[in-house]
Amino acid sequence: MEEKYGLDQLNRRVLQEGLCAACGACLSGCPYLTCFRGKTVMLDRCAIEQGRCFAYCPMTFFDREAVSLSVFGYAAADERIGHFLEVAASRATDSTIAAAGQGGGTVTALLVSALQEGVIDAAVLTADRQDEGFPGGLVAATADEVVACAGSKYVGAHSLAALRVALDRGYERIGIVGLPCQVRSVRKMIMYDLKRENLGERIRLVVGLFCNWAFSGREFAAFLSGRYQFDQVGRIHVPPPPAQVLEIETDGGVKTVPLDEVRPLIQPACNQCSDMTSDFADLSVGMYEGREGWNTLIVRTRVGMDLFRKAVEIGYLETENFPETNLAHLKNAAANKRRRAAEKRPAE
């Protein structure tokens, strides 16, 4: 069991090492940390010996076995795409949602279903142009608000800072959509709940996204505003290999940038991350390589399965078999990320 520390150690081990994943968990209700123009900044020293910041940060420590036990009921062994109950192909049936989504609009459809069915009363999502034009966390309580957050941001956006907003507003059944690092953080929050805020009860749903890396918010914004009209930049899209490019919607049409050019903008934290498919979410969603307009959906927990079935039942989600070859390919890709991370951070 890892020792828990405070802000001093968080600063030393994560912030000063440049290993912040910009998940936003540490910003929650802390006056000593803030997010400024896409970066986590420590404002002053805190003398608390065991703080939420250190405990919830995905980059300080992660007790795989304990989290697995807590989420799945046993210490999951699968090293590639994590424990799962089912893998399927899926897409939103509603054309507005499908158009808003990055691939098939599955995440949006799941959340809209969850809201409608009362599984959740609010969702912590990531939206473009929050503070000073940077993407950031947002609390959505209606279907329209959820749809407005659709689309991948490809940026460490400190989204979990909005969880504090949701808690303060009194929501009792919160759903969260996050990157693998954010999912891990939320699982630690539920497990440790250092201030006994009943997080295990109040957080009802965790949807994770597939992720290989995310850009640093500040550096990506600088890159974009250096080349394009920043406030006119629209969707970002990373087509499947072997494309190796980034597609950016601008007021001058879709621009293509070689990935090698933007690799320096990736958060150093991502190089150490072994989790491609958000192994600890209730449901994980990603692109379906080779099938435009569809998503890969991994169902991991009872909660996830219930929502998946409900969403299909009420007609928000359409689903098909996920072919074995594609599953093997996905597991390969996940294993590659794990291998790359192990080279950077052997002790996992």
Partner: protein, 635 residues
């Protein structure tokens, strides 16, 4: 009704040392008195300013000590008597002019009173200014008590007129700020009309001509000092131990000799005129003892001068063992005190110290522990500097390039302490913050990556910052100067400065605008209210990201100054249920970090609360509470 202007010769009154000095100047018939505020000298011109109109004299709080001396010199060159007062640092500022004025001499009378601060209790340094007398070949007097201070100043003007040169009177904190009985003398009926004799040029050139003249004038003073009543001796004709002292040392020594019952064994030779030293008087006493103890503050000035004279005459004098700072018997820094002096004399004479109740030390320590907890210096409740440094702290954190804040002198000088969140990284002399910030901002071409910034008060700005600002602008230095404009020379007692609408004597005066001055230089100047914390920290951050010389005026009235005439802005209170105090998410941000004295941590309830007696209602703390537990309501 001021005591120092009372026309009651023969009346005995209780005066502060500085007031006695002021009275002495009035009795000498001064027409002009100037100074820049500086502890422990401020009350001299402060008390003269209060009676200026009544006495028909001109009194000025000058922009700095050099100009103060120049203004006084103009009067002294025009047949008048003029007084200039300053603390030790001020003499450093005035020294360039002084070391030219001493060579041209004067026509009227000019007394320069310098008040040193042994132990640097309220100074950035500890310095013994007496060396200037030697350096400038000017006579030096040191008062040892209150009535004497008055008489000495009066005498100094007399001497000054006679030798046609400046006379220096040196005081220390314990003389300037203590009080004693003074018998008032007569006040003059009239003063000369100023007139500058234009038939003669006043120049120190060539030094080969003017320097010998200065020496001659000094010798004339020295001859007068041989017969001066300010030099006294008490004790046996052939003392076992001769204490040679001056200034505050005299009363400490007298007290020690009395308490140790050493009147028959120890002699006390006290010099009021310490440069030039009356050789004749000195040699007479040196010939009658084998053991000498020097008591003086701060440097071995008297000690070395006596030893020099002894060396000149050593073949005709008996062997003397000298004890003092050189021997290590007296500390070579810090104030003297009754206890310290008594201990030294007791050791040198083997006289037993008076019996002290064995419980005393214990009870004293107990009282200290329970009633005098150690407290760091702090900005007053409602001080705009607290808000400014808070904003600077945040701005530097957001900036992330390890910016360097060069500090300066004033209340905001405390910026290097906890009350200023340890933001200031340097503290030297008046205006040196901006000078060094300019210098640091020029190091970019040599590879420096850290932003350069400085804080400077409104009074400091006029005192010394302007030349450095111009230097920075012209040399294209990349730095941010934040003028902390609280509309007051607060640290020293709210004296007016050129930005004020009144002068020392209370007459209306045109306020000089800092922003107009900066704008006329062509430097980007922004004005901001530091009480708007978020806005201010963003403003500082954004200015740090720009290149070049930048001025940000953080303007908000001093809380003490404001409270004289205006009511509290807000009623501030804490909602205890909202306060999370020591818990994660706060860790007592308001009482542990922000530290306004009006915020109290209740250890029993584990909540913050507001001390209504101290809170001035600025409302700034309400902006920093992470739990929104501090409520402010506009009054």
């Amino acid at each position: 009704m001021s005591l120092i202007s009372r026309n009651s010769p023969g009346k005995e009154v209780l005066l502060m040392g500085n007031e006695a000095i002021a009275r002495g100047a009035l009795e000498a018939g001064i027409s002009v008195a100037t100074a820049y505020p500086g502890n422990p000298s401020s009350e001299i011109i402060g008390s003269l300013a209060d009676v200026a109109r009544e006495m028909g004299i001109y009194v000025e709080w000058s922009v700095n000590e050099k100009v103060a001396l120049e203004v006084a010199a103009a009067a002294a060159l025009s047949e008048l008597n003029a007084l200039v007062a300053m603390k030790q640092n001020g003499l450093n500022v005035a020294s360039d002019f002084l070391l030219n004025l001493n060579l041209t001499g004067i026509r009227g009378g000019l007394v320069l009173v310098v008040c040193d601060d042994p132990s640097g209790i309220s100074s950035t340094n500890e310095e013994d200014s007496r060396i200037y007398a030697k350096l400038a070949d000017l006579p030096l007097l040191e008062p040892s008590a209150f009535h004497e201070a008055k008489d000495m100043v009066k005498y100094a003007f007399d001497l000054s007129r006679r030798i046609n040169n400046v006379c220096i009177v040196r005081s220390v904190t314990r003389i300037s700020h203590a009080r004693g009985n003074v018998i008032l003398g007569p006040l003059p009926e009239s003063r000369p009309v100023p007139h500058f004799d234009t038939t003669v040029t006043l120049s120190s050139l060539p030094p080969s001509a003017s320097h010998p003249v200065a020496h001659r004038r000094l010798k004339e003073a020295g001859d007068a000092f041989e017969l001066s009543d300010f030099n006294t001796y008490s004790g046996p004709d052939f003392p076992e131990l001769l204490v040679i002292t001056c200034g505050s040392g005299r009363l400490f020594a007298l007290e020690a000799i009395d308490l140790l019952n050493l009147e028959e064994r120890v002699g006390l030779l006290s010099f009021g005129t310490t440069w030039p030293l009356p050789e004749g008087l000195l040699l007479r006493h040196l010939g009658r003892t084998g053991k000498v103890l020097f008591l003086e503050e701060v440097d071995p000035f008297l000690e070395n001068n006596v030893k020099g004279i002894y060396a000149d005459h050593c073949d005709t004098l008996p062997r003397v063992a000298f004890f003092g700072k050189k021997s290590g018997d007296v500390p070579d820094m810090g104030e003297l005190s009754p206890g310290l002096v008594m201990g030294i004399i007791s050791r040198l004479t083997a006289a037993a110290l008076p019996k002290e109740d064995p419980r005393y030390a214990e009870e004293a320590q107990d009282a200290l522990d329970n009633f005098c907890p150690p407290r760091s210096l702090a900005f007053c409740p409602g001080c705009p500097h607290r808000a400014s440094f808070w904003a600077i702290k945040k701005a530097l954190a957001l900036d992330g390039r390890d910016g360097v804040l060069f500090g300066d002198i004033g209340c905001y000088g405390l910026g290097f302490m906890a009350t200023g969140f340890h933001q200031s990284k340097t503290l030297h002399a008046m205006g040196s913050g901006v000078g060094m910030s300019v210098g640091f901002g020029l190091l970019e071409s040599l590879g420096a990556t850290q932003p350069s910034l400085t804080v400077c008060g409104d009074s400091t700005f006029f005192h010394a910052a302007i030349p450095a600002l111009i230097n920075g602008l012209h040399h294209k230095s990349n730095f941010l100067m934040m003028v902390l404009d609280n509309s007051a020379t607060a640290m020293t007692g709210f004296q007016p400065h050129p930005g004020s609408p009144v002068d020392a004597m209370g007459y209306p005066a045109p306020p000089i605008s800092i922003e107009n001055l900066c704008a006329s230089l062509g430097v980007q100047t922004v004005i901001q209210d530091p009480f708007e914390l978020e806005e201010t920290s963003l403003r500082i951050h954004d200015m740090l990201r720009e290149n070049g010389t930048k001025v940000l005026i953080l303007r908000q009235e001093c809380a003490l100054f404001r409270s004289r005439t205006k009511p509290a802005r807000h009623k501030v209170r804490i909602i205890p249920e909202q306060c999370i105090g020591e818990e994660c998410g706060c860790n007592r941000l308001c009482t542990r970090v922000f530290r306004c004295p009006a915020l109290i941590w209740d250890r029993d309830r584990k909540k913050s609360s507001i001390d209504e007696a101290l809170c001035v209602g600025c409302g700034v703390c309400a902006q920093i509470c992470p739990s929104r537990a501090i409520l402010r309501e506009e009054t």
